[in-house]
């Protein structure tokens, strides 16, 4: 009722419950946390006023150091100080093109590599969680209470394994993930809303370890991603490495120890950064080996040795434009994101390709976190009516299934707007075949071997039939986080199998349980007690709602269906009496699954009743 809400023009907006939510840019090189304060997005600094948290984690003798503290020790303790861990998220050792380039003690592990540190073997998910925890603590201190929700950004070109790993890391850090948001899309929100822009924009995002290009249409409050492309293993780090190799070659250095290599890499990065404003930069280092480095890197030399890297970003740019059906001239503005876009050569290449100078009036380090904070605010329901916008994002890489002959049959093509679901029917190829293997892959290549394997699972219990008689329906559902779940159902007998895709990258349930235990060990008992109390409240809520629904809509269920739900209620009641939070959550989830079909039927009926003039609120 608008009439009752007229406030005096100068009066502060009515105080209402605003949720403490944040946007987090979990970067390869640096991470940031931002929030919306008095309707303005701000990045949160530390006590010394620094907004960036170097994405560096050191497993020290006494505990874990994150950020500048870890950074200060990196040359002294390179094997226990992990930098650029984002490059390893959802990746196996085989994906790391030159593992000798890193001073770490890698451990091969199914799907995702691990690193041996003095505190034990750590996965990239655990290391990322340490960074996220540091950011959450910073936010909690400044917001005056626990963070209730977070939007965490990911490169647009991250595949399902990398996205899932990021979400796992956030959950491990105790964050309630409201949404995974693509970094270029976050930047477009921050830019577009600030400048009230309309038209088609390109976001060129060259970060520390990833490159994304997204083409977005902004109109009347809708951010519609038309196409996205990129390279999830190309970034500022690679420019540092080129300088590092140049220094070794030019300085005729012998093979370096991990500590010396890290020191020279740090100097290489400093030289690269200096060249943004200078014609040349010195690289001076006294190595532990006794070797002295004293070189002078000229801007032209730097441009020459990194030319191929700049060119490498242009192929995804062309592909994204082609997928969007647009020419460079159709682009109204190019938004630059990521610290690596400060390099003059990169700016020049972008300007040449699009025939216009890029937009640089936003801080390329902060724009993603700011956009994420705005989206977190919107998702939490904190926004006001005039801040109404909608994001329509896409899936970056096609999803498919392995078919006979090791080929990938695409089920959902890249650049499809999410959420999306697609079904495909398959059959058996042998008489009496009772099981079939389902192999889910992601990528554009024809051969399964060239795509990323996301998951394998089996549909068992197909009743004996002649070859070709079974009808196996496989449904892919991609949610608004860009995460995939797959369900398979044999239509004739109704056998079902479904999974949320995640096993291939190798986090087994035991591992997650161990990680959770590890993280609980750092937390206080209070946190565990609070988690249990919250789970109990949720359990009571859903149990009550289910019982009420069973009474109200008995007629919608047959006896067998009713028994399944009642059984799930009994299991939940058992878990409710215990103190095992995980078991209780699992029981809640099981009840949710058991009642999903029932809820849909009630929803359908409520719609039909509404159409026939009945009141909806008496039904739901």
């Amino acid at each position: 009722m608008a009439l009752f809400q007229i406030a005096e023009p100068d009066a502060p907006p009515q105080a209402r419950e605003r949720k403490r939510v944040v946007g987090i840019d979990l970067g390869t090189t640096n991470s940031l946390v931002a929030t919306v304060r008095n309707r303005i997005p701000v990045v949160l600094p530390d006590e010394e006023g620094r907004v960036l948290v170097p994405s560096i984690v050191r497993y020290a003798e006494h505990g874990v150091e994150v950020g500048y503290d870890a950074m200060a020790q990196q040359s002294r303790d390179p094997q226990n100080t992990i930098v650029s861990v984002k490059r390893f998220m959802g990746r196996g050792l085989a994906d790391v093109d030159d593992d000798r380039r890193f001073p770490y003690r890698f451990v091969e592990s199914p799907g995702m590599l691990k690193i041996t540190t003095r505190s034990g073997v750590k996965s990239p998910v655990e290391i990322s969680a340490a960074i996220l925890r540091a950011l959450a603590e910073r936010a909690e201190k400044q917001l005056g209470g626990p963070v209730e929700g977070a939007v965490v950004t990911v490169p647009a070109y991250f595949d399902d394994a990398q996205r899932q790993a990021t979400k796992d890391a956030a959950q491990l850090a105790g964050l309630n993930v409201l949404r995974l948001l693509n970094e270029p899309t976050a930047a477009a929100i921050a830019y577009g809303l600030e400048h009230a822009s309309e038209g088609v924009y390109a976001v060129y995002d060259l970060g520390g370890g990833t490159f994304d290009i997204s083409i977005l249409k902004l109109s009347r409050g809708v951010f519609e991603v038309l196409a996205t492309n990129g390279d999830s293993a190309l970034g500022g780090d690679d420019f540092d490495h080129r300088v590092f190799c140049w220094a070794i070659e030019t300085g005729k250095l012998p093979p370096l120890s991990p500590a010396d290599a890290r020191q020279l890499l740090v100097k290489s990065r400093e030289a690269k950064e200096m060249l943004t404003g200078h014609a040349s930069a010195p690289i001076v280092a006294h190595l532990a080996s006794g070797d002295e480095v004293n070189l002078d890197l000229k801007a032209e030399t730097f441009a020459d040795i990194t030319q191929t890297l700049v060119q490498k970003t242009m192929q995804p740019v062309r592909r994204a434009l082609r997928d969007a059906g647009l020419a460079p001239a159709d682009i109204k503005g190019v938004i630059l994101v990521g610290g690596a876009t400060r390099m003059p050569r990169v700016r020049r290449a972008v300007a040449e390709h699009f025939g216009q100078p890029p937009l640089t009036n936003l801080n390329p380090d902060e724009v993603v976190a700011l956009g994420a904070a705005m989206q977190a605010n919107a998702l939490a329901g904190n926004r006001d009516r005039d801040e109404d916008w909608l994001l329509l994002d896409v899936i970056p890489l096609s999803l498919g299934l392995e078919t006979m002959g090791g080929l990938s049959e695409k089920i959902i093509p890249r650049n499809s707007t999410i959420p999306i679901a697609r079904s495909q029917e398959f059959t058996t190829y042998k008489d009496g075949q009772s099981a079939t293997a389902i192999h889910v892959v992601q990528g554009e290549r024809e051969k399964v071997a060239d795509c990323r394997s996301l998951a394998r699972f089996e549909l068992r219990g197909i009743p004996p039939m002649v070859a070709g008689a079974a009808r196996i329906n496989v449904t892919f559902q991609v949610d608004a986080d860009g995460l995939l779940s797959v369900a398979a159902r044999e239509q004739v007998a109704g056998v079902e199998a479904s999974i949320v895709v995640k096993p291939s990258y190798g986090l087994s349930d035991e591992e997650i349980a161990r990680m959770l235990q590890d993280s609980f060990a750092h937390a206080t008992d209070d946190a565990a007690a609070r988690a249990l109390a919250e789970a109990q409240v949720e359990a009571d809520r859903i149990a009550d709602a289910t019982r009420a629904a069973l009474v109200a809509d008995e007629a919608l269920l047959d006896t067998a269906e009713r028994r399944v739900i009642e059984r799930a209620l009994e299991v939940l009641a058992g878990a409710r009496d215990g103190t095992d939070t995980q078991a209780l959550r699992a029981a809640v989830e099981a009840l949710n699954r058991a009642t999903a079909e029932f809820a849909e039927r009630r929803m359908d009926r409520s719609v039909k009743s509404a159409l026939s003039g009945k009141r909806i609120d008496t039904l739901v």
């Binding site: 999410i418 608004a480 809820a599 929803m603 409520s606």
Partner: protein, 175 residues
């Protein structure tokens, strides 16, 4: 909340015709997503969020089906009980197939000698023919209800789209 029982056209409040008001479709799509998108229900119960995911998925599916002319024609035929791309019936007219075969050979030759202008010309020609098929489809589906001829036209349109895609890929590889 969307009505799950209606067809794609009813979902957007549009007449079930091949000729479509693209702006009205866009507007209706955006208005529906603004209501049902999971971002609008992020703070809801598990059931709310599941319904949002399903509804938003449904709206995306319907929009994709109506936006693309081939999919739209296929859907209109499906509403009349006809499977346009029935795999047991794959025939196309011989004259059509022959002319496409010839065209593909010409394109392959142009690609071999890096003749971008010739490829561009072929692509423009194919797109012109695709446009003509769409006008035919509008007449066959909306005015005449000649479903058999519409089925033939949409199959040719899909074939042409594949040719255009292949020529586009050749152009891209020369880039």
């Amino acid at each position: 909340m969307i009505d799950p029982s209606g067809n794609h056209f009813e979902l957007f409040g549009l007449p079930a015709t091949f000729r479509i008001d693209a702006d009205a479709l866009d507007d209706a799509y955006r208005a529906l997503q603004a209501e049902v998108h999971p971002d609008r229900h992020a703070g809801g119960s598990d059931t709310d969020r599941r319904v949002a995911l399903q509804s938003s998925t449904r709206v995306n599916e319907a929009y994709q089906a109506l936006k693309d002319p081939i999919e739209r024609a296929r859907y209109l035929l499906a509403l009349r009980g006809i499977d346009a791309f029935d795999e047991t019936d794959t025939k196309l007219s011989l004259a059509f197939l022959e002319s496409q075969l010839e065209r593909r050979e010409k394109a392959a030759h142009a690609a071999d000698v890096d003749d971008i202008r010739a490829l561009d010309a072929i692509l423009a020609e194919v797109r012109g023919e695709m446009h003509k098929r769409q006008l035919e489809l509008a007449a066959l589906l909306d005015d005449a209800s000649a479903v058999d001829r519409a089925k033939a036209a949409v199959r040719e349109l899909r074939f042409l789209a594949k040719v255009a895609e292949d020529v586009g890929a050749m152009l891209a590889s020369l880039d």
